[in-house]
Symmetry: D2
Subunit: 410 residues, 4 copies
């Protein structure tokens, strides 16, 4: 048992921390100032500073760190990448800097694993280069997406074409001016086995019939220039080879992308919680009330201690889940993946909320990053499966494990 990061991870941690301090954190206010368009997503731009940061990150060898496949990326294990994801979680603009932002990372992984050579050429290459962005269209407004079998959008096979119809929302990143492609999930064969009914289809964003209806705000913020789109698909016709891995493999592919994606999200949100705690402590030690720094008043030390304990525990659990992914695979890590998905965002929500409270009114404004971090954490309690669905799965696996142990009747 060894709780130390590997030599390789430690090297990256050091370099990444230095890069964050030198380049990314100082760029945050510049990035915000360069953003254009406000609530009107059609006028969104890519802030120039982001392209500068990307060039620097690439030059520094801090690029595509998330990709475990050594042919395309850094070739890091999940447990080695995890602390790097955490560091990038400290700043909401950081993941893109290192080409490690969702949903591009998941889309790239899907293409690495399931993409045809032609698909890789067309989409994987520019994504790896950070030249284009992409979206993932799965969730639907009309049905409870916590139950994936509810999905209504269709990807029908008609001759040598696949035809997409339906309505998706929370398609994150689809508002980005660089977004050129989306991956669509739809029902292909309602009579097939439950997990063989759906397909994943690659669609250029400008395919006729694809229409971005609007962008959805999260706590009033549009996450420009990425955005979360509501998108309609009307008789969208694509050649059959746009289907990733062939028809009926949608669920299989979705499962494969969710494991690492959840670890990335959880580590990033732990980074967000660390930043919140840092801000909280800075405020607590610098602000005076009733003749003392807030840090020493009443229950404030308890708040700090509780935050520290919660972060440590969530991090260890997430690292263990990553290690299980590396050592026994996604199936053996099923319960742990669901556990971190419940634990980390909920923990981060509480820690960030406490940091807001310590800041008083300033914490609610844009003067500190806290409300943006809170929105990220809050979204994660719903995205990629709400807490409720994960808890249900954890309990089911626990009952099974206990039955196996005690050998008794159900």
């Amino acid at each position: 048992m060894d709780f130390a990061y590997s030599t390789r991870a430690r090297d990256y941690i050091e370099r990444l921390n230095a890069f964050m301090a030198e380049h990314v954190l100082p760029a945050e206010p510049i990035y915000r100032r360069q953003l254009a368009g406000g609530a009107d997503w059609t006028r969104w731009n890519q802030p120039p500073v982001m392209e500068e940061l990307k060039a620097k990150a690439k030059a520094a060898g801090l690029w595509n760190l998330f990709l475990p496949d050594v042919e395309y990326g850094a070739g890091l294990s999940n447990v080695d990448y995890a602390p790097l994801a955490e560091i990038t979680g400290c700043s909401l603009i950081a993941p893109e800097v290192f080409n490690g932002n969702a949903p591009d990372t998941g889309n790239m992984e899907v293409l690495v694993k399931y993409g045809s050579p032609a698909q890789k050429d067309a989409w994987l290459k520019p994504l790896l280069a950070g030249e284009i962005r992409s979206a993932f269209c799965m969730t639907e407004p009309e049905v409870a997406s916590s139950d994936a079998t509810n999905m209504r959008a269709t990807a029908r096979i008609e001759g040598d074409e696949v035809v997409l119809d339906g309505r998706k929302w929370w398609s994150s990143g689809i508002g980005h001016p660089h977004c050129k492609m989306l991956i669509f999930m739809g029902l292909t064969d309602p009579d097939a086995d439950q997990h063989r009914r759906h397909s994943m289809v690659l669609a250029p964003l400008d395919t006729p019939g694809v229409k971005i209806e609007r962008m959805l705000p999260v706590f009033g913020s549009y996450d420009a220039p990425f955005g979360h789109g509501e998108v309609s698909f009307t008789d969208v016709r694509l050649p059959l080879d746009a289907v990733i891995g062939g028809p009926g493999r949608g669920f299989e592919i979705a499962q494969g992308r969710l494991g690492p994606g959840r670890i990335h999200h959880c580590m990033r949100v732990i980074g967000a919680a660390e930043r919140a705690l840092e801000l909280l402590c800075q405020r607590a030690t610098s602000r005076i009330a009733f003749g003392q720094p807030l840090a020493r008043l009443g229950g404030n030390p308890d708040i700090v201690a509780n935050a520290r304990m919660a972060i440590e525990q969530a991090r260890l659990l997430t690292l263990k889940a990553a290690w299980l992914m590396d050592t026994v695979g996604i199936k053996g890590a099923t319960s742990e993946i669901s556990q971190i998905k419940v634990v980390a965002p909920g923990m981060a929500q509480r820690v960030i909320d406490a940091a807001i409270q310590m800041h008083g009114g300033a914490g609610l404004s844009d003067d500190v990053e806290l409300t943006a971090l809170l929105a990220y954490a809050r979204v994660l309690r719903i995205a990629d499966g709400p807490d409720e669905v994960h808890r249900k799965l954890i309990a089911k696996l626990e009952y099974q494990r206990q039955q196996a142990r005690s050998g008794g009747p159900t």
Copy 2:
């Protein structure tokens, strides 16, 4: 002991509920569409529908219900007005409709109680008529406002003038195009007794030296067209009779306005929680997952039950605090006022958060009112004294009470 609302309150409740259902709730989307200016507060407007609603409310006799003084308002006791405040809390646009929104209500009460005839003529009359709006400038960016003795802004007496200097923020309502006046609190005599040092001063918004520096967002929303302003005061000179009640009475007046204000806020936020629970139940009973309405799945009934119990308890406590205000006065209700200020917003935050979770992604967007209600509840855990300060006061009073009871040494 009688838990029934009075006949008079029940009559108002019925009429107010009918008015809300017929006029206010249907106007919510119209109001939002009519809002102009987005993040640019200098372009904010008063949506025409609001003036129509105000006219209707006035005609229906549902106007200035909050004012206990029968000469100026409805003459309702706190406990009779409380359920009406709750009803208006169900919609964020409702309070203004009935001329019952903060901080105008508090400002009007101050003028009723402490205003000179001239001040009443100039400001109380148009405020009562809903022709103008006002702001209240107390909190400061540079110091922890949880400790009011920290206040740095000054209201110096120079000859027959009072001179205001300093910087205030979270001056709510100051962005409203109808806002014409503000009440400023500042240090007048640093050598006086601790609670006799400050003064409250009435200032026309267009007085030279008063400058709105910017509007502060709350969770990314500017609460247009009211806004929360950061305001600088530079050598703002006013005649001495702009000082309300005379110099040195700032704290006394502040205390007097806070009691009823906190009850209003708490009842409104309870109304917000009720609306959230209503939305939660509607979603739970209409949305299907895993073959059943969400209402029946897993721990969802527990969430509903916990919300119901929390709301009931917070309401009863707030009503009791109102009743104490009516029967033994603000001093005898000190602990209870602080108790509701901790209990009600925290309860509402949890209930609204649960409603968001039940809605999935929709809950985070603007498609339902939930994030706006959440922002209201969250702000209240800080505004008018943060939870921490109220808990400290409650404990202090409890220790005193217990000492008195047991007669033992401290």
Copy 3:
């Protein structure tokens, strides 16, 4: 709306408080010393001091206060009796002093409402006089009693006899040397309508076939000399007129007794929480660590404030439930009765646990009353329906209420 206790209630409150301070609290250690038998229930005795206290209470007119029927008791409404129940909850020996302890109170109410003249003569009279004690045999070890339809014990009608068979447990009070009678609930007609299947039967404790198998400890304590018995019934034959109200009315009678019983329990447990908070504050203000009384250290004031807010809210909710019972009857108070049953014991458990923590090791010992109070609160989260069942019912009623309001489809 009036939060003041009635004149009559206030008079009783004053007298009861005086009696508690003068007679009951000082008698607690005497009572404990006079207890005999330890874990061997067959050697339990009635401590002589209890009979003295009962005589004094009777003489002071503080007797059978719980009985709303003026012919037999004080004739107080639920809302008038509630604060008296709270006062007696401060001491675990107090309820018996005033002849207001469970399950005798419930049994007496059943006899008043459903008993035949002969039953009243035989059992109600000596119970009202405090000459005998009684038990209530409902819960069974073999089945989940949270679902009352699970009940397996039988009360078959054979000719002019009723025959009891089965096994009951948690029959509280059955170990008391004065216990002479029990009320047994069993299945009479499995083919009848679901709520007409069971009967309640009066059985002298010495009826052949009734056997106390053992006493059950609660957190290691046997609650001597009352005890919680496991009792077997083997071919227990009684004349048909032992059936209360006639066969098939078991559920109806059980429902009737549960409403007031739950209010009594909840008010008593609120009294227990008040005593715990009193002890907590005494310890906090008298114990020094790190140079200060515990009362001022760290988060301790928050603990006190949270306890005070929780107690106030639980009390108001319970009083409202009592008032609803008085004004609209048990059916109209269904949700509220379930709400208090969840809220009050859970609140008390938390407050008492906090008081234990403030006492350090002493809190865990018998040197203060806290572990005994905790056991009482903890038991109540299970007895008379576990939290889970009450939450389920509250949610069901809430869904119904919301459906009715919105008029929408289920």
Copy 4:
């Protein structure tokens, strides 16, 4: 980073689990039946089955596993011993079976590290052999022991004697018929540096002046035959070489023993939580209500999932603390040691309480082990430093760490 137990640890885990299943768990009811004396500690005995189990454990090489010193014990690192401590925590009788129960383990470690050859001969040898038991007398009834500088008992040096005076309580294990020795901590030099004032003294239990005044119950249970004693020391005279390590080293020795001791306690209480979860799941899957196993009803799966997540996190944090102790020493693990001391017992209390609730009335009785496990967890929130003191220390270290990071002013 490696989350797998070492080969050596896995070997012990396997053997220990087998031994527990084959020998210890089946012996639990036998042990209880063989216990004598009830509440009268002077009649307590060592149940014969315990000596049989100890002999078997010794023969199986499962003896003194806790001792990191290879000369005297198994020579396991903290992180290797931790899972073994967890396993023994599943049964309250297990630690003694393997000679790994508190406070003997701590006392043995003290003797190994600080004992003179003569002290080792006299006391370490028989303790290692499991022939005698010992106690540790530190906590005092008159002062808040959370602040160790409060300590009033004295260990004065008079010539060639050390003289003990004072009153101690919560001296665990002192009631055991095999207990022959105690370690006493007292004030030697009030004028010395704050952490050089106290001494630890070895005293045979039968030294004149040592008097066990009584045994303290925990939630009504005396933990026979170990017990928690209140002990008076009156002019207890011992030769100077009874002082461990020489006068003035009490705090130094106490600190050294607390680190490993806290890890042992935390891992054992995690084992207790695991057992509670196992019992909870067995009950949930075997008990039927409303036509379904409890396992599927309402929020019960959430309870199971929450328990599983909490246990996993507490275990990982504790293992990391153990690993830090092994790699950077107790000083580098200060915050983590305090963190686990807050996290693990609190977690266990909640999990065990949930298991009690799932069992209904049975959970409160002695029919399942749950109340005994709960008492163990509850005690730990106070013993070895209450939660409050640990949270304070965690916060202090966090503020320091954050200051160091940001380089800003305090």
